[in-house]
C-alpha cells in the first residue's frame, strides 16, 4: 500500500484496487484501469464525488441528465448492487463484466431476467411486460391500439410461458432465450474488448508496479 494508492482512495470513495477487480472479473488489470478512466468521466459529470448518480448515468446514456427512462432505471438498479442509490467503481466494473463478450451466457441470461422482472418477484409477469412494451412504444412515439398490444403479449406469452400460468419463470426464460438468441444482443458490448485503446490510462501503471512489490 503505497502513498499513491491512498491518494487515490481519498479522491474517489468508491475506488477499488484494480488488481482485485481484475481477479474477480474477465478484465485484465489494464482494462480495469481503462474502465476507471471512463468511470471518472461519468462520475464527475454532475457532482465530482467519485460516484455515479442516477442523473450522471442518464447524462452518460442519453446526453440528457433529466431524461427518465424505465429501462435505464432498471439497469441503474442492477448496477447499484449495494442498493445505495449510487454506483461506485467496484459496482461499475462488476456489472460491466456481464456485458463482456467473454462473459457466460448464463450470467447474461440471469441479468436480463432480473432486468425484466421489475418488481423482483422472481417472475416476469404479463403486466410487467405490458408496462415495458408501452414504455418502448412511447419512447419511439408509436401508438398502438390496446388490442394490438394485447395480441403481441398473447403471442409472446404463448411462446415463452410454457406452463401457461401467466408469468415467465427463470427456466422458461432460459428456454425462451435459447430459442431467441437475439434477445441477448443488448448484453454484449464489443467496445469492452478495445477498452484500453479507447481509454488509454497512463496514470495507474505505476500503481500496478507498487502493488507488485
Amino acid at each position: 500500500m503505497g502513498c499513491f494508492h491512498s491518494k487515490v482512495t481519498r479522491q474517489h470513495p468508491g475506488y477499488e484496487d484494480p488488481v482485485t477487480l481484475a481477479s474477480q472479473t474477465a478484465f485484465s488489470v489494464s482494462e480495469v484501469e481503462a474502465l476507471f478512466e471512463l468511470f471518472k468521466s461519468i462520475s464527475s459529470s454532475v457532482v465530482d464525488d467519485g460516484l455515479i448518480s442516477k442523473e450522471e448515468f442518464q447524462l452518460a446514456l442519453f446526453k440528457n441528465r433529466k431524461k427518465e427512462n424505465i429501462f435505464a432505471n432498471r439497469i441503474f438498479d442492477l448496477f447499484d448492487a449495494k442498493k445505495k442509490g449510487i454506483i461506485d467503481f467496484g459496482d461499475f466494473v462488476r456489472a460491466l463484466n456481464v456485458f463482456h463478450p467473454n462473459a457466460s451466457q448464463e450470467d447474461k441470461i440471469d441479468f436480463t431476467f432480473k432486468l425484466y422482472d421489475m418488481d423482483g418477484t422472481g417472475f416476469i409477469e404479463r403486466h410487467e411486460v405490458k408496462q415495458m412494451l408501452i414504455a418502448l412504444l412511447c419512447e419511439s412515439e408509436m401508438k398502438l391500439a390496446d388490442e394490438t398490444i394485447e395480441a403481441i403479449l398473447d403471442k409472446t406469452f404463448l411462446e415463452a410461458d410454457i406452463n401457461q400460468d401467466g408469468k415467465i419463470d427463470i427456466s422458461e426464460w432460459q428456454n425462451f432465450v435459447s430459442r431467441n438468441p437475439s434477445l441477448l444482443k443488448i448484453m454484449t458490448l464489443p467496445y469492452l474488448r478495445d477498452i484500453t485503446t479507447t481509454f488509454p490510462s497512463f496514470v495507474f501503471n505505476s500503481e500496478v508496479d507498487e502493488v507488485a512489490t
Binding site: Y116, T148, N180
Partner: protein, 185 residues
C-alpha cells in the same frame, strides 16, 4: 487553369503519404449479417422466386423492448453510433403492406445510386459510388409488429460512417419510412 486537387491525386502525393495509414474498416461485432448473407447465397444458387405471401418475421414483445435507448449501454462509450431519428410525426398509416415498403425503399434508393437486392423481407443496398474505401452497405429487414405496422431494421455494414450520415435525410431512409414511426439507434 487552376483546378481543385482530387482525392485520388492527394493519395498519390508524397507529403500525404508520410505517416499515413489507410483506414481499415472493420465490421463492428454487433453487425451480424450472417442471416442476410445466407439468404443471398441461396438466391444466387437456386434463383427461386418465393411468393411474398408469407408474412415477414413477427417480433415478440421482448425484441421490441430490447430496442430501447435505455438498454443500449454502448452509448456510455461515446461510440460513433449511427443514430438516425426516423420518426415521422404524421401518425400511423395503416394498411401499408411490407411489399409497399420494399417498393418505397427501392424507389428512394434509385436517385442515390444504390444498388438494391432483395429477397423476401431482407434487402441489401450497395452504394456503388462510395468515394472512400469500403462500399457503404446497408442491410435492412422488415419485421411485422402488428398486422399493419411494420418495423424496418437498418444495419450499417462495412463502410464509412461519415458517408452514411451525409445521405440526405429526405432521401433513402425517410422517404421509404414515410408510413412508419420507427426509431433506430
Amino acid at each position: 487553369m487552376l483546378q481543385h486537387i482530387t482525392i485520388a491525386e492527394i493519395l498519390k502525393e508524397e507529403w500525404f503519404k508520410k505517416g499515413y495509414k489507410p483506414p481499415v474498416f472493420e465490421e463492428k461485432d454487433d453487425t451480424n449479417l450472417d442471416d442476410v448473407e445466407a439468404i443471398f447465397k441461396d438466391y444466387e444458387e437456386h434463383h427461386v422466386t418465393e411468393q411474398r405471401e408469407e408474412q415477414p418475421t413477427a417480433m415478440n414483445a421482448f425484441e421490441l423492448i430490447s430496442m430501447s435507448k435505455g438498454l443500449n449501454l454502448g452509448n456510455l462509450f461515446d461510440a460513433e453510433e449511427v443514430c438516425m431519428d426516423l420518426r415521422e410525426k404524421q401518425g400511423l398509416h395503416l394498411n401499408v403492406t411490407a411489399n409497399e415498403i420494399i417498393h418505397k425503399i427501392k424507389e428512394a434508393a434509385k436517385p442515390l445510386e444504390f444498388d438494391v437486392h432483395n429477397k423476401n423481407y431482407k434487402m441489401r443496398l450497395y452504394n456503388l459510388k462510395a468515394e472512400r474505401k469500403g462500399n457503404l452497405n446497408v442491410a435492412t429487414e422488415i419485421f411485422q409488429v402488428a398486422p399493419s405496422l411494420h418495423m424496418v431494421e437498418i444495419r450499417k455494414a462495412k463502410g464509412d460512417t461519415l458517408e452514411f450520415n451525409t445521405v440526405p435525410h429526405d432521401s433513402l431512409i425517410t422517404i421509404s419510412l414515410h408510413f412508419l414511426n420507427v426509431s433506430y439507434c
